[in-house]
Structure formats: C-alpha cells, structure tokens
C-alpha cells in the first residue's frame, strides 16, 4: 500500500508540473505605444473633435492573426485630434480612423474597394502615425465671446474644409449619392464647466444649437453667425464654450452617426 501512495503522489506531482503553472504568462505584456494625429491635409492643422463615440474613432486591427480577425476595442481621439494608446500588444496592425472627414476607406455599395488610405504599421516601442485627411468643415469662433446676464454670445464662422466638387468626386462613386450630403444641418454651441467641453461634456442647461433645413446654410458659409447660450449661467465661474457643425453625411457610411467638426474651446468668465 505504501508503494501505492508514493506512486500516486509522484504521479500527482508530475501532472501538476506538466502545465507550466510556474510561468505567469507566455506572452509579452501589452506595453507598446501608438501615438497619432489627424490633421487637415490642406492646412496641417489638427482636426478637432470630441472624445467619445461621436468623435474620431480609432480602430486597430492586428493583421498577424490571419483573415478572420476582429478589430481591437475601438478608442477615440482626444479633443485636439491626437490619440495615444500605451497598452498595445506588439504586432503588425492596420490603423484606421473615422471622423468628420472624407472616409479613408471608400467602397461601393457592392463592396468593391475604391480607395484605402489607412495605415499598416508594425507597432513596437512608440510608433507614430499621422493621418492627413480632408475635414468636411472648418469651424472657428472669431473674436472673444461676450457675456451679458449669464448668456454667452459668440461669433462663429463655418467654412468647407473640402470643396463641393472634390467631396462629390470622392463620395459619389460610393453609390447612393444625394446632393443633400453636402448640406450643413446644424451648428452646436456647447457650454461646460470643463475645459474638455464638447458633445459628451456639454451642459444641457446652457448648450444650444441652430438647425438648418435643406441647403439653406449654403449662403451662410464663411459668414459670421451669432449663436447664444441657453438659460442663465450663474455668475462667478469660468465656463468653456465650443462651436461645432456637421454636414448631412454619416461616417462610417451606414452608421447613421454624423460627426461634428469643432472649433477650439474658448474660456469665458461669467461675471
């Protein structure tokens, strides 16, 4: 019987050791960094956005896994149009951004690829990528916003970042073209106590918007538009304001998400 026990225990020990249980993991930790920026190809200025699912989406797909690969969990650009992720596994990736600019991947409705301007890169150490895109709109707050009785008034200028003809040249081949895609549908005026002001960090009490039907905005392109906040902001604190505008075109196509182009945030003291 004693032999039996010894034999059993040895066997058990052997079994334990066989599953490499003393190694913590056999894969390198995700410690590579990808750093990127999305800039306007015409001016070199960053494409401003909002950090959230309505902003610029960054999608990494590791290509070394073969053809049936799911992309990594999406993340989003910071509001200044840059992104940085420091917890990436080493590998060969496709990097794609989707936002308020001409889509980098353009396909016909039948799935035929027309253009692919995404970046394939090895991510190792700190990898930098730069996307030069054509933003739909450029939005600026001109001059200093004024405040009276807790209401902020700002002057906003919206211009096309990509000409109508060029937009059409690139989007029409994708199918289902409609002239209405080019229409500017609304201007948003986001107000927040936070300097990360935007769609996600807006304060519903004071943020406002102006909607435009059809192509009625066309005459206002490049003009100064005055927009005022809602309600009455209590005095004594700073707020940040930001303007945003968008056209009637969703990115990626079919998502129904029409993304805004943003102005720089502006700090306003409420006296």
């Amino acid at each position: 019987m004693k032999q039996f026990k010894i034999f059993g225990m040895t066997a058990a020990l052997l079994m334990l050791s066989s599953c490499s249980m003393f190694e913590i993991d056999n894969y390198d930790a995700p410690e590579e960094t990808i750093q990127g920026e999305v800039v306007d190809v015409a001016t070199g200025n960053p494409v401003l956005t909002d950090q959230g699912s309505e902003g610029i989406r960054v999608r990494l797909t590791e290509l070394s896994w073969g053809d049936n690969v799911e992309h990594n969990p999406d993340f989003f650009c910071m509001s200044d149009g840059t992104f940085r992720n420091t917890k990436i596994f080493k590998g060969h990736y496709n990097v794609r951004v989707d936002g308020p600019f001409i889509p980098l991947v353009r396909e016909t409705t039948d799935g035929m690829l027309l253009a692919d301007e995404t970046i394939n890169t090895d991510i190792k150490g700190t990898t930098k990528v730069r996307f030069e895109v054509q933003p739909f709109l450029n939005v600026k707050i001109v001059g200093d916003p004024t405040v009276s009785n807790g209401v902020v008034k700002a002057k906003v200028v919206v211009e096309r970042g990509v000409s109508e003809s060029e937009f059409r040249d690139k989007i029409e081949p994708m199918g289902n073209w409609s002239d209405s895609y080019l229409n500017v549908t609304d201007i948003q005026f986001f107000v927040s106590y936070s300097n990360s002001v935007g769609y996600r960090a807006r304060d519903d009490r004071w943020s406002s918007s102006i909607s435009y039907t059809g192509n009625s905005f066309n005459d206002l392109l490049g003009e100064t538009i005055t927009i005022t906040s809602n309600g009455e902001i209590p005095s004594g604190r700073k707020v940040w304001v930001r303007a945003a505008a968008r056209i009637n075109f969703d990115t990626p196509v079919g998502s129904g998400t029409r993304r805004w182009n943003y102005s720089e945030p502006v700090e306003v003291m409420i006296p």
């Binding site: 049936n68 948003q188 519903d204 009490r205 809602n230 969703d250 079919g254 998502s255 129904g256």
Partner: protein
Amino acid sequence: MKKILFSALLGACLLTSCQDMDIPPKNIVTSDDLLSTESGMDIYMARMYSTMPFEDFKYLAERGLNSYNGWLAGFGFDGTGDAVNRDGYCRAFTGENEAYWGNAFTLLRDANFLIENLPNYKGNYPEITYNDYLGEAYFVRAYVFYALAKRYGGIPLVTRVISYPASSDELEVPRSSEEETWNQICSDFDMAAQLMMPKSPKRGYANKYVALAVKSQAMLYAGSVAKYNETVSGRLTGLGQKTGVRVMGFDQATAAEASKRYFTEAYKAAREVMENGGYSLYMKKWAEGDRSAMRQNMIDMISDTDSPENIWIREYIYPTTTHSFDAYNAPYVFRSPLSSAVCPTADFVELFEGFERYPDGTLKVTTGNSNTEGTYIMYDNVGDFYKNAEPRLLSYLIAPGDQFKGQTMEIYAGVYTGTTPVKPLMRDYSYQAQGDNYQNLDIAQGDNRTLYMTPDPNNQTIVTLPDGSKMNAAGANGPFYNYNESAMTGLLGRKWLKDDPSFTAREGNSDQHYILVRYAEVLLNAAEAAVELSIAGAASPDGSDMLGVATDAINDIRRRAGATLLASKLTGSNESRNEVRKERRKETAFETGTKWDLRRWRVNDYDNRDGFWGEERDKDKFSSNSHYRFRGIYPFYSATDKKWFFDVKFECLAHKQFEYNPIDYYFGIPGNEVVKSKVIDQQPNR
C-alpha cells in the same frame, strides 16, 4: 498485492465480455419515445415552449431573455416614454445584456429536428394531429427567426438539423441577407398557418390564427424596416465583411418593392384573422356612455383568461409556474420586497383625451398660455385632474386618489402653505432646466418655507396646516425627493397588477397570465398595413376597401376605449398613418410591443424623433440631440384654500435620461460569435 493483480485481471476479463450489449439504455428518453405518442409530443412541445423568446413577465428589456427569469421585470420603462423607473435598467432599447443568439439556435434545432423526424412517425397520428405538430415546428422556427431578425436584421437561416461532428462547411451557416431572412419568416409562418388547426388542440398550443396574427406583426416589422431605413441618416444598410451579403438593411433599388410586399402580407394575414378567427374585442363589462364601465372593461380585458380578445396567452400556475410582477411593481404601501417600478409619464398622458391643453398641446395646469404663465388651476380633490380622462388611460394608471386593492392610493408631492392664487413654482420648464428640483426652491428652504416635501417614506415631514391640523408632506406612495421607489412621476402603473385585496405579493407568487397577442393588435396591424399600402399606391390584396377596414378597426378600438371616433375616413397619407400609430401607442402601452414599434418606425434617433409619439411632436421639447427625457405630473396640496394643484415638469427625482443613436436600430452581433466564426458577419456599420 496479489489480490490487486487478480482483481485487475478479472476486471480486464469483464470488460471484454460486454461487446454485444447494444440494447438502448432504459434510463434515457429517445426520440422514439417522444415522437411516437401524443403524450411524448406534449413533452417535446413543452420543452420548445419553455425556451421560446417570449417577452412577458419573465423579460426585462435591458437584460434580455432567459437567465434573469423575470427578476425586476416590468413594462414601459425601456425608453418608450410610457413610463420611467428609478433604476439603471430603465434605459432606451439599444441592446440586451444577454444577447439572444445561442439559445435561439438550440430552439431552432428542436424545431428542425421535429420537421425532419416527425414524418417517420406519420402513421402514429391522425393526419390532422400530425399536421398540427408539424405546423407547430414551423411556427416555432418562424417565431425564433422573427425574434432574431428584429434584433439583428439578416441572420443565419438554419433550416436543417446540423449533425455533429461535421466539416466546418456544414457546421457554419453564414448570415443571410435581411430580405431573405424576412422572406423565410413569411414562408415559415405560412407553412405553419397552412398546417395547424384553427383552434388549439390543447390549451397553450398555438393554432392557425396565432400563426397568422404573429405573421401580421412580423410582416409589419419587415415592411416598416424596408421603408423607413431610407429615412435614417446613412440608410442603415451594408454588406457583410466576410460574406459580401447584405446582412443589414435593403438594397435601395428593391427596398420600396419589398416594403410593399411585406405590408401586403401583413394585411392579408391580419384580415384572415379578422374574418375567420372568431375573435372579438373584449366588451363584457362595457356599456355605452358609462365611463367607469368602460374603464373596468379595459382592466378586466387584461385579467380575464376567457376573454374573446385573447389570441395567444402564456399562463402561469401557482405554486409551480409563477412570476413576480406584483412584487416589483405595486405601489409603495404594498412594497414586498420592492415597489413602484412603473411610473407613467406626462408625455404619455398627453396622448389621451380628457385634459385641458395649452395652445401647444401640452397639459394645461395654469390659467395662462404656458406653464410659466398665470396661476395654478385649483382642484377640490387630488383625483380631479384625471376626472374626464379617457377611460382607457385610467385603466392603465393608479392615479392620485385612485382605489387599488381596496385602499385609496395617496400620491402627492408636497404641501404648499403660502398665499393663493399660486404662481408657477419653477421659472423655467424647458428641457434645459430639467435638472431643477422643487426641494431646492427658495420657498422650500429655511424656517419660513411655504413648500413642504418629504425626503423618504421613513422620514415623513409633518406639516402643521393653518387650521392647526397636521398632514404628511408627501403621499404614502410618494413622490419622495430622496427615495425613488415611489410614484416618481406622480403616477403609478396599474396594467397587469393584481387588484385583489386578499393577495399579498411576494417574489414568485404571482400567477396572472400574459397576453402575447390579442385581437386589438391584429386590428391595428391591419389598419397600419392598409394605410401604408395606400400611401405606396398599392392595390388591395383581397379586393377589400383597405381604408374602410382601417377606419373601422380604429373606431372599434376607440369606441371600446371611450375615445372620440375618427371624424372622417382614413386616407393614404402620413396624417392617417400617424392616427394609426398613435392609436397603437395608446392601445398597446405597457405591453412589450412599443419598443419594437419605435424601432421599426425608425423614430427613436434625434433626426426622426418628431414622430416618437406616433403623432408629430417637437422633439426639441424633450430632447437634446441623442438624449431625451420625460415629464411627471406632480400634485401639490394648497393648505390655505384646501385645494390641489398640479405641476407638469421634467421628472426630477431619478433624473432619467435616455439616449438613442441610429446605430442602435440594429443590435451588434455578439462579438464572440463573430470572432470564432469564419462566416458570421458583424453589422457593417459597427
């Protein structure tokens, strides 16, 4: 040691001797046992039905089907605006925590197994019974496909038993196009209707008209999606990345035709139920001109098992098969272990007749032209605000001062001791000011306050009234400003609750049945399909006067409900369509269909939200981009003149905010299913 060796040897010998033991084990139920007799088939059916994707007392929209077994289940607070609820599970229908996928394929296998194997036992049954069983299998398959299609669009159409092991080509079924999916659903329902008996052979079984009624619902969904996808930014369609199949949405070229075809199918199916089904609207207690009889009739319609309106119900039996609806949704005074989950909104009440209105159509509570103007209209009794309300609405509500379970339900938000007439409490009632609370008002602060409220039921503020008497600052059922398990909107839901004083709710002791399909819905299906077909310029599929049928259907429902009949015949216009939609929102409120209606009408995202209420309403009054909110009707007691006034304001206790984006019209395919398969496509817009 020798002994051990010997026994080991003996064991080895024994092993070799069983090579001929291939008789079937007695303790395993085989398909032969199940499929060869009627009692076996009952077991087979029971198994299928027990895993059907029913959305009843066992379902909570936020959680999804199955594993929660009805914990905290209730209706109307899934972002449809019928009601709000304090908790995190009160949110817009943008997905289900437990995605319906794997369980669907298990059930499909059961249905397909029956379709493939029952023919081997055809001789065991009379033909009519055999056909009925086979019809059930097709019905179950159609029902599961339908449940999947309305969630995901195109789905893997598994129409055969997949044997395992097999090559991956045989095991893996890719998603079909959305159009093919709806076509399959249509033909499976047709097959079921053709095979099944007109009356269920046994209680609980489906039948021909159940199949047709559900078919009309499904085809209405398909027709709407084909048509209204076009109204959504981005058109909601695309090809699967792996297969190149249009797994989501419709081709722009064929969408209009497909939509017409599906509406035609919906109309035909609903008409057949209307003409030959033998169902009728529940009118047992109804009496012309008698509002309380009309109301009681609507209440009994829900609870009467023998209602001629019931087409298909799911029954529960105490103590073996039960649910917990009453344990979560009754008023606070009956709390056990929870309460007050369904709090109907002012926005919902505005769908109904019998209230004074401001010029913009909202509920009038002051003498002025909007909430901020004039002074409050005073009422003698707390229930008087609802005195003239449509009987159907009252059948859904536990309004302030209502009777429930033999008791008067106390619901009021505060006591006002200041001077009268009373000016509006808030300066601003707009969406932007939704966060303002009554308890933060100046008049609710300090020793000289004139507005008293109660933080929670265990801490009632006692107010000494001018005449020296004392009164609680809030009703026994709330609303309380620090405790949201109360009449958060100044109202509570009544539909489906057991109004029996002798019944004490506990978790798992409710046994009322759930009506899965009732005749009123079939009428609404026919009416909606008829108007949609007329808008599309399609001919009547059966030669009937479609708009006449639609008008009669709406008027029958309105008459029963105690509402005003249509002034003129419906036309093929969006206005008439909205009449039908609004009627549907009213008639089927606090059932599980409304969230699907909003989804198929594509009116939940900001761009299309004007149509959210069936009728046209300005979305900016209750939305801020993708966010939206609802209002409550808060009763206050004015102590000076001993009267009541009401304030309509954005719900400010749980501050419920909903969010919906176009991407939510199709749920994402569960990520793990996409990753592990070479053929299952994710939605192309995700």
